[in-house]
């Protein structure tokens, strides 16, 4: 499961998985020695000599495939560009303390730039401010900070746009049919969740609170939770014809529930992410479309920007949309899309 910006997992999980993640991390480090495509190069010191550019990458966790992709790409790309890379991560999603510590370590290491998928906490923001005050370029990846200008620049999917694309596509599939929508959200109040949700409604052409929205449920982006929620919602609203999902695991859960009731012909499911599994699901016809995002792009553009700034060039600024693309094998006029063959070539995870 993955969804950037979501406290994926949610309630009760933290104290158990915190420890888990810690030991899993130790396990992974131990495994790195023999693992060719180790996700993290934890010691960038070797590459660091006078004049070389050094970059730090801090992800929310090191287990989520989305972040694993980021780290793999960062490692490869940094090597390619002759840049020193130190990859760190929180122990679990929402591990503010872990991110702050990672920031402090990178600051004392004296890196030129830091890329972070930030937890939005004052603690993390404080550490970011500290880094910037020492002339370190800080770039937010995947998730914007709040306020956005707490970092130099943000390289991320425009989640509102991604949501809008999903909504527009699903609505277009419905055509003249009266919409009856169920929304499977991630976590209540999450930044990304809100952007995608609101974007979807705009693209779909409904206002929040419209009676055509038959139900909404938080799924933590978890397949099992999403399936259960969908089953229960279908119990009340078996006449649904459109489903919004926060990410692909949620879409899989929704599909399973809908399939069990034999409603697949009647319902159009949309999703967001572009993980390879999700694209495959679209290819298999489980849901109509997914909106792909590009974590590799975020990392590459981020490293480029830091290298440029370190070389005396202009520091990056503002929000840089790394793009989002509708993936479907059922293209609809008026909505730009790529097919799943293209999707499988460009997916992450």
């Amino acid at each position: 499961m993955r969804s950037n910006g979501m406290n994926s997992g949610g309630r009760g999980r933290r104290w158990s998985t915190g420890v888990v993640a810690a030991v899993a991390a130790v396990g992974l480090l131990g495994a790195c020695g023999s693992d060719d495509d180790a996700p993290a190069e934890t010691d960038g010191g070797e590459a660091t000599s006078e004049g070389d550019v050094t970059v730090g990458l801090i992800t929310k966790t090191e287990t989520n495939p989305f972040f694993v992709t980021m780290r793999t790409v960062a490692t490869d790309y940094a090597q390619e560009q002759g840049v020193g890379l130190t990859a760190l991560a929180g122990e679990f999603d929402g591990d503010n303390e872990g991110q702050v510590q990672a920031m402090e370590n990178l600051i004392s290491q004296g890196v030129d730039g830091i890329m972070i998928t930030p937890n939005n906490s004052s603690g993390v923001l404080g550490a970011i401010e500290q880094a910037r005050s020492q002339g370190i370029v800080v770039i937010a990846l995947d998730t914007a900070t709040d306020p956005e200008d707490a970092v130099d620049a943000t390289f991320a999917t425009d989640n509102f746009e991604a949501g809008r694309l999903q909504g527009a596509y699903v609505r277009a599939v419905l055509g003249d049919e009266e919409p009856r929508l169920i929304m499977l959200d991630g976590t209540a109040g999450g930044t990304v969740d809100t952007f995608r949700h609101d974007g979807f409604l705009e693209g779909f052409g409904l206002e929040e609170g419209d009676p055509a929205i038959l139900g909404m449920e938080n799924t933590q982006g978890d397949q099992n939770t999403a399936q259960t929620a969908m089953e229960n919602l279908l119990q009340r609203s078996p006449d649904v014809n459109a489903v919004y999902t926060i990410n692909e695991p949620a879409a899989r859960g929704a599909y399973a529930a809908i399939e069990a009731r034999g409603l697949t012909d009647q319902v159009t499911i949309g999703s967001i992410d572009g993980g390879c599994e999700g694209v495959q699901d679209v290819a298999d016809g489980k849901y109509a479309a997914t909106v792909m995002q590009f974590p590799a792009e975020m990392v590459r553009q981020g490293i480029d920007a830091i290298v440029e700034a370190a070389g005396g060039g202009e520091a990056p600024s503002g929000f840089v949309d790394t793009g989002s693309v509708v993936i479907t094998d059922n293209p609809i006029e008026g909505i730009e899309s790529e097919d799943t063959a293209w999707g499988l070539e460009n997916c992450w995870g």
Binding site: G12, S16, T63, P65, Q223, N224, N232, L233, Q235, E277
Partner: protein
């Protein structure tokens, strides 16, 4: 399971009553009062009442709740946590706790799915998965009994280790399953328009089996005795460590079954799945009236506990109420259940 010796032969040597006491038979009125007292003292009364209240409430609040289809759905949704909670019940009855059950089951799903994914025989995959969960249960049990470590610490460690193994072995990706054997429990039949999965039937069968084992066999009595008064159990000749170990092994087997069930429900083995299953299972056990201090409780209570959680989730969703209220209600029930347990134990200790 231990104690193969001293079966019915242990009947005490008959002795003529030297001093037959008066009043062997109580008058019927007091007997009825006793029966009523016993019924009210039954720790299932509370959970059952909570379940009934919830069902009645949601029946009144929605048109869609009180249907056979919905009941079937709630059962299906309760299968995995219910099976895990059954194993958890066994362990909690011995005054232990298992934080690793979800992780063990997840590893089971991954072993089964990845083995098939790599071209293995599904039956072998299944047996491999089941074996691994049993072995992991046995390891917990051995650490608890041989090294005398507290179950909380042992299973916290196991949780961490097993989770890491699951991630490493799965290479942090998920494996979907199409083998009919592994998906078997998600299949089913339709009875009068209601879908009944084999998994639902299995859940009921497994609960019945363990109800019988706990309530009607000598092994069951030993499990209760070991949890309630380990020293007394040892003194009367119960092999305490062997009983505890048997419980962890049985729980491991149940986690394997839960893994199989999970693939029936979601044919996708994901190392990130069921992250809160350990706590969810403890929740079901506690709401079901089983004491965290061991020696008191029942699997029937646990089934009711799991159903209460399922009913709340289903009912609140259908009533259009934010599912955070489900967490809220569940949390309140946990606290109420633990308070009742404390109160009853304090009464007993007087």
């Amino acid at each position: 399971m231990s104690e193969s010796t001293a079966a019915a032969a242990a009947r005490p040597p008959g002795r003529s009553a030297a001093d037959p006491p008066p009043g062997g038979a109580a008058p019927p009125a007091s007997e009825r009062r006793q029966a009523l007292g016993r019924a009210l003292r039954n720790p299932l009364v509370g959970p059952l009442a909570a379940l009934l209240v919830a069902v009645v409430l949601f029946t009144l609040m929605t048109d869609t709740f009180a249907t056979a289809g919905n009941a079937s759905l709630i059962l299906q949704q309760s299968i995995v946590i219910g099976t895990l909670a059954l194993g958890q019940t066994l362990i909690i009855l011995t005054a232990g706790i298992d934080l690793a059950n979800g992780a063990i089951a997840v590893l089971g799903t991954i072993v089964m799915a990845k083995f098939v994914f790599e071209g293995g025989n599904p039956l072998t995959a299944l047996l491999l998965g089941l074996t691994i969960t049993v072995v992991l249960g046995a390891i917990s049990g051995l650490l608890v009994t041989r090294l005398g470590l507290p179950p909380f610490i042992v299973t916290l460690g196991m949780l961490t280790v097993v989770y890491a193994i699951a991630r490493l072995y799965s290479e942090s990706r998920s494996y979907s399953v199409s083998e009919p054997l592994l998906r078997f429990w998600g299949q089913g039949t339709t009875l009068g328009g209601v879908r009944i999965t084999w998994g639902t039937l299995l859940l009921l069968v497994v609960f019945t089996v363990f109800w019988f084992a706990l309530a009607r066999t000598s092994w069951g009595r030993h499990v209760y005795a070991v949890g309630n008064a380990p020293e007394a159990a040892r003194l009367v000749g119960i092999k305490v460590n062997r009983t505890i170990l048997s419980v962890y092994v049985a729980a491991g087997a149940l986690y394997g079954l839960a893994a199989w069930q999970a693939l029936g429900r979601i044919p996708n083995a994901d190392p990130n799945a069921y992250q809160t299953a350990n706590l969810d299972s403890i929740t079901a056990v506690v709401i079901g009236g089983t004491s965290l201090f061991g020696g008191r409780g029942s699997v029937v209570g646990t089934l009711i506990g799991a159903l209460i959680v399922g009913v709340l989730r289903s009912g609140l969703t259908q009533a259009g109420i934010d599912n955070l209220y489900q967490d809220l209600a569940t949390g309140v029930l946990v606290i109420v259940a633990v308070s009742l347990d404390q109160a009853s134990r304090r009464r007993a200790a007087r």
